[in-house]
């Protein structure tokens, strides 16, 4: 055991990091590999690669993912900020490059091929974006002369444009929600919230009215008979087939016909093979991370680290929630990976960065004194009369 008197970097980290959050993230990472044993072999067979191709890749990616998470969790808030800035700039450059040199898949350019790896830069953009927005908002609160809010708008506009250009509406929506959520968390007045809410609703309605792709998805959600709901129906069948305790590992059959069973619909596969009980465990791990993370944020005295923590947690939580809700047919289908669980190298590494940053920001730090603020002022001569 490391002594508390030990002041080494590692010892300090060990004593200050939130062990429960760390354990929860670790659980998800290992769970992702275990569950990919269930979900990815049928896909591998379908596309004609070796049965455990995806499992192996997921396991291999786990090593850098763990390293990144631990390394990130060692950082101080200031370092987090800097790392986020660097990551943001790199991601932005890569995203621009993607538009010109990206791999086109299913009508979208989201991937870029670098050094033998296909990378989805938008995955890495998300956590960096959140940290930067937190920085801008907290700075603008601290020093009035910093046009933080303006920069936050510009930053979001740039990211949104790049994402829509791909096009990737799911990520745009996620980023927009997190962005708006951070304004909310920063204590924006309810009046503006309502105005923004109206704009958001109008935006969604506009998307519904003018983007046939969105119209289609929503229609199919509201009226399943209006179109092809194969994926969602199959996902529901998975849960029904699984029941409370599942059919058992490897016994699933619905997964064989479920498209994207190893990525967007892995939760349904978990439902079929391991049952609703394990699904509930998985959901509660996500819920634990989100609620504990937000709880940390609520206690944080520092504006930046409070906002950054809350923003990252909301990012992580929203992505998971949307994926779960789509799997359970609680909302229109939207391609969104389940952090740590879904197959995907970029997604895994990005989730690891997010997790690492959350761990870093929630480490116990010396707090500013809680004494009252004392103002000394001169009495006006008039008051002496």
């Amino acid at each position: 055991m490391v002594s508390r008197a030990d002041r080494s970097r590692f010892a300090e980290w060990l004593w200050t990091v939130d062990h429960y959050l760390l354990a929860a993230f670790g659980l998800l990472m290992v769970g992702g590999v275990v569950l990919s044993f269930a979900a990815s072999p049928p896909v591998a067979e379908r596309i004609g690669v070796e049965t455990f191709f995806f499992v192996k890749r997921q396991a291999i990616f786990l090593i850098p993912a763990i390293a990144i998470m631990l390394a990130a969790s060692l950082m101080s808030p200031r370092l987090v900020r800097r790392a986020a800035l660097i990551l943001f700039v790199i991601s932005l450059i890569l995203m621009v490059a993607t538009l010109f040199a990206g791999l086109e898949a299913k009508g979208a350019r989201r991937w870029i091929y670098i050094a033998g790896f296909s990378i989805q830069p938008s995955e890495f953009l998300k956590p960096a974006f959140v940290v930067l927005i937190a920085f801008l908002l907290s700075e603008s609160g601290r020093r009035r002369e910093v046009p933080g809010v303006l920069f936050a708008f510009v930053l979001f506009a740039v990211c949104a444009v790049l994402l829509i250009a791909q096009p990737d509406f799911g990520q745009t929506m996620l980023l927009g929600l997190v962005w708006a959520g951070m304004f909310f968390l920063n204590g924006i007045s309810w009046l503006i919230i309502m105005a923004l809410g109206v704009i958001g609703v109008l935006g969604l309605m506009a998307a519904y009215a003018f983007l046939p792709h969105v119209t289609n998805r929503v229609d199919r959600f509201l009226d399943p008979s209006s179109g092809d709901t194969f994926q969602v129906d199959t996902a529901m069948d998975s849960f029904l087939a699984g029941g409370w305790f599942g059919r058992g590992p490897g016994e699933g059959t619905v997964k064989r016909i479920l498209p994207d069973s190893h990525t967007d619909f892995i939760f349904a596969v978990v439902g079929e093979e391991f049952g609703v009980v394990i699904c509930l465990v998985l959901v509660s791990v996500f819920a634990f991370i989100v609620l504990r993370g937000l709880n940390h944020a609520s206690k944080d005295q520092d504006a930046f680290s409070r906002l950054a923590t809350a923003g990252l947690v909301v990012l992580f939580g929203l992505q998971a929630t949307i994926n779960l809700a789509v799997n359970l047919h609680l909302m229109p289908s939207k391609g969104m990976t389940l952090p740590f669980i879904s197959y995907g190298g970029s997604s895994l590494l990005s989730s690891a960065m997010t997790a690492g940053a959350i761990l870093a920001l929630t480490r116990k730090r010396p707090r500013p004194s809680r004494g009252d603020v004392v103002t000394v002022s001169r009495l006006s001569p008039s008051s002496l009369m």
Binding site: N186, F239, L291, S298, G371, T375, S377, R378, S382
Partner: protein, 570 residues
């Protein structure tokens, strides 16, 4: 807080107020926002958990249905019986022995017990399998019930049976087209099997009740013995006349029940793959053909029923009819004036067409519709073809229809219509299920008058006594019938050397009990020098069928003063 802008003063005041974040927003406000976010997330997670629990609960009922369906797939179909209770189709239930080696307590005991009861099991192999520690191993498939019972009585833990079931048709192809067949999941895909699925069985299975082993058997109107006779005679006829196909129907003239129906080539329902071959389709209800001169029976009945023609009228058949560039001639031309009975027994196309003309086109159309010859005739079988009608029902079409060309109907339709005009004028829809007298009364519709029906019986009998149907006669059973020799159409033209022959008959003619229809496709002359008309192949086939099946059907032969025509005076 009062901030003072006045010049510096030596007096100072200290005021303490709570520390706020050095920002525009107070820490407590932010804190409450985070709590709102936490609440929102908590609500969403509760919703997700609720949905999961709901799904798991829904599953509970769905899953039992699924299991029982899985179970019933192989088990629960009712037996199909013929009218005498003979089995046409049944489920064979076999038990297959398996073991769950991990749950076996004493391998020695298990091996000893199993090999004692099932001596053909290899002791070494069984021991190896039981010691393997696997979750599940098969030991022996398809045990007899006795052996299964003995093994069961050993009471070995970890040894169990799975019930495997298969549809079996003991008669093989005999009634293949009637009973139909099932797919690998034991769902009916054709014939009566599909009918019972569509009617009630599939719903029963969906509700999970079909796993019950004792579903009431379904009894059909078919008589397996007669069915065998019909098929046997058709097989012989196909061989003898080198025909490419044949169909035969025995219909109860008084009730509309189908007693036998065979279409060759047929298939063995135990071997489903055969059913896919196109040539094996059910011609009796699923194929439509130009029935040829057999149709003259309907034209004559129509003419007599309309009152426009009486049995004593005569028509000039000396010259062919020319209409719209077509010439209608007679095959057995007599080239003289023919009476109605002569037109019928000599099968005069000219005379028949003239009888039709005397009656009128509209009436013909109406009469054939009344006999259900112009629309799809529904039976329990899913295989029912719709008739092919002329594109324009003008006078030329009407004339050709009068002697059975230009309209294609199923043999079953023909037999049903014939039963109506011979049984006293009551049209009864055909059925493959037993029909009670009450149902007959409610279902029957009068289509021709009893008088006309009597005259038609007379004509049918006359045709067998002194017309083209002589070879169909069976002593004692007063067979009556009409031949039909239709030239087949190839590439849109009639070819004279390919025929489809039919013989439409009923017996006994004084009070017809059964209608028998035989169609032989492309028969060749039996030997050189003779023709291949219906009277030479279809008629003797009908004769053979009646000879063999009438005694089974309980029709008493009557030998009066010689084989005289029935006494009818007009």
């Amino acid at each position: 807080m009062t901030l003072v802008t006045e010049p510096a003063s030596f007096l100072q005041v200290r005021r303490a107020h709570p520390r706020t974040a050095r920002g525009s927003v107070s820490a407590s406000a932010v804190k409450s926002r985070v709590y709102v976010a936490m609440l929102a997330f908590a609500c969403v997670y509760v919703a997700i958990a609720g949905r999961l629990v709901l799904l798991a609960e829904t599953e509970a009922s769905a899953s039992t249905a699924w299991i029982s369906a899985q179970d019933s797939v192989s088990a629960s179909r009712p037996d199909l019986l013929d009218r005498n209770g003979e089995i046409l189709a049944t489920d064979i239930k076999t038990s297959s022995l398996y073991a769950e080696p991990r749950r076996i307590l004493d391998v020695d005991e298990a091996v000893e017990g199993l090999t004692r009861i099932l001596p053909d099991l290899n002791e070494k192999v069984v021991r190896h399998r039981l010691e393997s520690g696997a979750g599940f191993v098969w030991l022996k498939r398809e045990l007899t019930p006795q052996k299964a019972e003995q093994v069961h009585n050993l009471g070995l833990p970890g040894i169990g049976f799975l019930s495997e079931n298969q549809r079996f048709y003991p008669g093989g192809p005999t009634a293949g087209h009637i009973v139909g067949s099932t797919n690998v999941d034991n769902q009916g895909i054709s014939g009566i099997e599909k009918y019972i699925d569509d009617e009630w069985l599939s719903e029963l299975q969906a509700l999970g009740f079909a796993s019950d082993r004792s579903i009431e058997p379904v009894r059909l109107s078919v008589d397996l013995r007669v069915q065998h006779v019909v098929r046997d005679e058709l097989v012989k006829a196909m061989e003898r006349y080198k025909a490419i196909a044949a169909a035969g129907i025995v219909l109860d003239a008084k009730t509309g029940e189908v007693v036998a129906m065979s279409s060759l080539p047929d298939y063995d329902p135990n071997d489903r793959s055969q059913a896919l071959e196109k040539s094996r389709l059910n011609r009796a209800t699923g194929g439509v053909f130009e029935m040829g001169s057999v149709f003259k029976s309907f034209t004559v009945a129509m003419a007599l029923d309309s009152g426009a023609v009486s049995i004593n009228d005569s028509f000039d058949a000396t010259r062919p009819i020319r209409a719209a560039g077509r010439t209608i001639t007679d095959f057995h031309g007599k080239n003289r004036i023919l009476s109605v009975p002569e037109i019928f027994i000599y099968s005069s196309n000219i005379g028949t067409a003239k009888m039709m003309l005397a009656t009128g086109v509209a009436r013909q159309k109406e009469f054939l519709t009344r006999l259900h010859l112009t629309e799809r005739l529904k039976t329990e079988l899913p295989e029912n073809a719709a008739p092919l009608l002329p594109p324009k029902w003008n006078e030329l079409a009407a004339m050709t229809i009068s002697f059975g060309h230009g309209i294609s109907v199923t043999p079953m339709q023909t037999a049903v219509a014939a039963a109506a005009i011979l049984n006293g004028g009551t049209l009864l829809p055909p059925t493959f299920l037993p029909r009670s007298q009450e149902e007959v009364k409610t279902l029957g519709t009068q289509v021709v008058s009893p008088d006309v029906s009597r005259m038609m019986r007379y004509l049918f009998r006359l045709n067998v006594l002194s017309g083209s149907g002589r070879r169909a006669d069976v002593p004692g059973y007063t067979v009556g019938g009409k031949t039909g020799t239709a030239e087949k159409i190839e590439n849109g033209r009639y070819v004279s050397n390919k025929r489809r022959n039919s013989f439409l008959s009923a017996f006994p003619m004084d009070d017809p009990r059964y209608v028998v229809l035989v169609v032989v496709d492309e028969p060749k002359p039996e030997h050189d020098g003779i023709g291949a008309t219906a009277g030479l192949n279809a008629a003797p086939t009908v004769g053979a069928i009646i000879r063999r099946s009438a005694p089974m059907l309980g029709v008493m032969p009557r030998f009066g003063k010689g084989d005289e025509p029935i006494e009818i005076s007009y």
